[in-house]
């Protein structure tokens, strides 16, 4: 048994220890807000917060997440910064197909928790997730908007 703390709740998981956290979330726990895109940490659709750090769960063995505070998109609005980010995403009408946006919101939340007033360089360095719809300009605008929101 592996014990995980996900969105503030302790969960007992019976899987192989090297199973990627992504598939524990999606299959074992039915939390499908976190997306599978590439499986090799290229696209970032699977991003979750691990002790506040944006982490690509598709290459994170579940045993390595033991003891960490895991926050997924399902609970993002319980974080004050996450709530602001979601509001900026909705207000800025960022998503198109939306498939990458769970990961984008996670990445933006991690950035603004660590760097509340990011420069454009900070945004470029942190927001590396891929978006095939090309919503990058709206993403950058929304990050700036969330940073400026009181």
């Amino acid at each position: 048994m592996i014990e995980l703390t996900i969105n503030g709740t302790t969960r007992q998981i019976d899987v192989e220890g090297d199973t990627p956290l992504l598939w524990v979330l999606r299959d074992t726990l039915g939390m499908t807000g976190t997306k599978y895109g590439c499986g090799i940490a290229q696209c970032g659709a699977c991003s979750v917060l691990l002790d506040g750090q944006a982490t690509r769960s598709c290459v994170t063995p579940v045993e390595s997440a033991v003891g960490a505070q895991i926050t997924t998109i399902e609970a993002i609005e319980t974080l004050p910064v996450g709530k602001k980010v979601v509001a900026a995403w909705v207000g800025g009408e960022v998503p198109q197909c939306g498939y990458c946006q769970s990961g984008q919101v996670i990445a933006a939340t991690a950035l603004l928790q660590q760097t509340p007033k990011p420069t454009d360089e900070d945004i470029a360095a942190a927001m590396t997730n891929l978006c095939r719809c090309g919503t990058y300009n709206n993403i950058a605008d929304a990050v700036r908007h969330a940073a400026s929101a009181a």
């Binding site: 899987v15 192989e16 199973t19 990627p20 598939w23 999606r26 299959d27 074992t28 039915g30 499908t32 807000g33 976190t34 997306k35 599978y36 895109g37 590439c38 499986g39 090799i40 290229q42 696209c43 659709a45 997924t72 998109i73 399902e74 993002i76 609005e77 979601v86 995403w89 909705v90 009408e93 960022v94 998503p95 198109q96 197909c97 939306g98 498939y99 990458c100 946006q101 769970s102 919101v105 470029a124 927001m127 590396t128 891929l130 978006c131 095939r132 719809c133 090309g134 919503t135 990058y136 300009n137 709206n138 993403i139 950058a140």
Partner: protein, 735 residues
């Protein structure tokens, strides 16, 4: 060319498609058998024509919810919101109150000129009048129901955002309270539509309905679907299409892996069914298979390099796609003749949601099937064939798409639903198949490779007097609809973007030279336009250079008979702060600009790009787009679709190329098939112009002008003319 709208569902005896009617993105017509026959042989009385039965599109629930059943699938293009805006305008309900879902298969939804699909940038323009009329018809029924209840004349009643009012008496009822009576009334033959001058929702930047769900992880895609008792499957495709699975060399080892339920041989693949997808994937990738060469499929020596060489060597004359004047004579008499060859590679769709399919057979023998698709009835028919059922025994669900760009039509070897159906039959449990990203890159159907050879003749003043082009290759319309169209010699999806250009070049001849490509080819955002405007508009800049003319000024002059395009070119010039080609100094470096026009899906587009060169690579800083779709529904959605089209146009032309060797694509993930990331995204400014021309498409037309605008800017900056995509193949010296 892409006026679109194939009327294949009208023909009882099978599809019969006009060349004119077929320009746009359609699915593989494996369909033929299922859809038209089913539609033609509807039971009993003749069914109402598509797009007329209000209750098929609108449900007004007692709790006040408005459910709109859309003929189209939402995949990021904003069509759910657009449908709500149009319906809401005439029904007199705030579009924000609608829940929009993709409708199940059914004759009612064949609103794209007699058929149903989400593609070809056709959704809004095909259904605009239909959705308005449905909304107005429903509102009229609600008014009459209220009039009956209150014993007044309907003309004495008005509506106000979901309520009927009798002003004289102050009485009011919600639509929900009237819905039961209203929907039982016969619809009126004619209804009055709202005066466009009083529109509240149409033409406005109405907020998209799905933003919250998509920002909080609640939006559910095919890959997220689950049902009770479900098992999951992962596949290992044959190393090459055509190879067949022989012996399993370590079957016992794989069977003993955790969670494994069973191992299966399928056409073109082996599969492992397990209690979770990760366990299934682990197991199927552990399975060692003795793959045999097999029959057919992709030749073992097939390569993209060999394909390009074959296209270049093709010297057949083909068929005339467009002819005006005497081009041979014009070229003979020209003061100067120039020639150039252009090519573009195979491309993957690379939508971020990997394909999946969930199949569940029910106790009554029917099948429920969830899968990403752009043509529900087509997939319903195909699924029925696989399952040995009648189409109406297949309940097909079309969840929101995690991107599509032409990916989710029916292509050979490219869809997982057949695997899901066969596995569900084999294990007697519901089965969800997900393709790993690697398996998706291995089987995605590709944008065709393109090759075009140009010649142009210039007079002593440097003006083009003759233009000749041979377009060589194969397009998806010819591949999938050729037989249904009676095998016309010209494939419109090969030549669109090269024929019917707005320029006053007095003599021109465009030949369509068909040369089959073994790869499984696909529709890809803007289809032939995705490369043909790059070819044509780049060569037009070569003509300008040969004649000593500024490319913007030359286009202006050649557009003397095309006022709509001339206005648009002027508009994009203004939007960019006035045309300047450069090179010029900006932000500590040298930059230059290029311009291109595109005419696609009945929409006109003018594009200017600003570039620099950094470390030998093209950097695109700014893109300005003026777009004239005739008339519009939602300017905010259009602006975002143009942003998206610019991104995909740039991504493809800067970076993307599917390389085949030994009969198989080489790149299997985003590390080897890079797509545009945030650092390469330029600023994009959009101006929408409503010329009043018939409504054109939105999803695709913003793409074709981007690659040539960039190429022309690069040529202005470096003197280097890129004639082979992607740009990343070319290293540029310091400027």
């Amino acid at each position: 060319m892409d006026g679109m709208i194939p009327p294949f569902a009208r023909a009882a005896a099978g599809p019969r498609l006009s060349r004119r009617g077929l320009g746009a993105a359609l699915g593989a017509l494996v369909l033929g058998a299922s859809l038209p026959r089913r539609m033609a042989h509807a039971e009993g009385a003749a069914p109402p024509p598509p797009g007329t039965r209000v209750s098929a599109f609108l449900e007004i629930h007692p709790d006040g919810r408005f459910r709109l059943l859309s003929p189209f699938v939402e995949g990021g293009q904003g069509i759910a919101t657009t449908m709500a805006q149009i319906m809401g305008e005439e029904l007199d309900v705030d579009p924000a109150r609608f829940e929009v879902e993709c409708a199940p298969p059914g004759l009612d939804y064949a609103v794209v000129d007699g058929m149903r699909m989400t593609g070809g940038s056709s959704s809004t323009r095909s259904s605009y009048a239909i959705m308005r009329r449905l909304g107005a018809t429903a509102r009229d029924m609600l008014l009459r129901a209220a009039a009956t209840r209150w014993k007044v004349r309907p003309e004495q009643l008005v509506t106000e955002n979901g309520q009927v009012l009798h002003r004289q008496s102050g009485r009011r009822l919600t639509y929900a309270a009237l819905a039961g009576e209203a929907m039982a009334l016969p619809p009126a033959e004619t209804v009055r539509l709202r005066d466009p001058r009083t529109f509240r929702y149409i033409g406005k930047p109405f907020a998209r309905l799905d933003m919250r769900d998509k920002s909080t992880g609640r939006a559910a895609y095919s890959i997220d679907t689950r049902v009770d008792g479900m098992l999951q499957a992962a596949v290992q495709h044959a190393p090459r299409i055509g190879a067949e699975a022989g012996d399993f060399l370590n079957e016992a080892e794989v069977r003993a892996m955790p969670g494994v339920h069973s191992i299966h041989r399928l056409k073109d693949a082996v599969a492992v069914v397990a209690d979770s997808w990760w366990r299934a994937r682990r197991a199927v990738e552990t399975l060692k298979v003795d793959w045999k060469p097999g029959q057919g499929g992709l030749p073992e020596d097939f390569s993209s390099a060999g394909m390009l060489a074959a296209l270049k060597a093709e010297r057949g004359t083909g068929a005339v796609a467009e002819e005006k004047g005497d081009t041979e004579a014009a070229l003979r008499g020209a003061a100067k003749v120039i020639e150039a060859e252009y090519d573009a590679p195979y491309l993957s769709h690379a939508q971020l949601e990997p394909p999946s399919a969930l199949a569940r057979f029910n106790a009554d023998g029917t099948l429920d099937l969830w899968l990403p698709n752009q043509m529900p009835e087509l997939f319903q028919g195909a699924a029925a064939q696989v399952a040995g059922l009648k189409p109406e025994e297949v309940r097909l669900h079309s969840p929101m798409l995690g991107g599509f760009f032409g990916r989710h039509f029916l292509y050979d070897f490219a869809n997982p639903f057949q695997q899901a159906i066969q596995l569900a039959q084999a294990v007697q449990r519901p089965v969800k198949v997900i393709w790993s990203r690697e398996e998706e890159f291995a089987r995605d159907a590709v944008r065709p490779m393109g090759f075009t050879r140009f010649r142009a003749g210039l007079d002593a003043n440097g003006m083009p007097v003759g233009l000749q082009a041979a377009v060589v290759g194969e397009g998806p319309i010819g591949r999938y609809f050729g037989a249904a169209m009676g095998n016309p010699p010209v494939d419109p999806s090969m030549v669109e973007g090269i024929v019917e250009r707005p320029y006053a070049i007095p003599n021109r001849r465009i030949d369509c030279v068909r040369h089959p490509q073994p790869a499984v080819i696909a529709f890809w955002r803007s289809v032939g336009h995705s490369m043909n405007e790059f070819f044509y508009e780049s060569f037009l800049d070569e003509i300008a250079a040969a004649g000593g003319k500024d490319p913007f000024a030359l286009r202006m002059e050649l557009l003397k008979d095309s006022p709509r395009q001339r206005d648009l070119l002027r508009a994009v010039g203004d939007l960019s702060g006035g045309w300047k080609r450069g090179p010029y100094e900006a932000e500590g470096g040298k930059r230059a600009r290029g311009v291109a026009l595109a005419s696609a899906f009945n929409t006109e587009v003018a594009t200017i790009a600003e570039v620099s060169i950094a470390e030998g690579e093209v950097q695109v800083h700014e893109v300005w787009v003026a777009i004239d779709p005739g008339s519009i529904v939602n300017p905010a959605i259009i602006t975002n679709q143009v942003q998206s089209a610019v991104a995909l146009g740039l991504s493809s032309s800067l970076l993307e190329e599917v390389v085949y060797e030994k009969g198989a694509p080489q790149a299997r993930n985003f590390d080897a098939y890079p797509i545009l990331n945030r650092t390469r995204m330029p600023r994009v400014r959009v101006r929408i112009i409503e010329s009043g021309a018939p409504m054109g498409g939105i999803g695709e037309p913003g793409l074709p002008g981007v690659p040539p605008a960039v190429a022309n800017a690069v040529a202005a900056l470096t003197g280097q003319r890129v004639r082979s995509l992607p740009f990343s193949k070319t290293r540029f010296g310091a400027v």
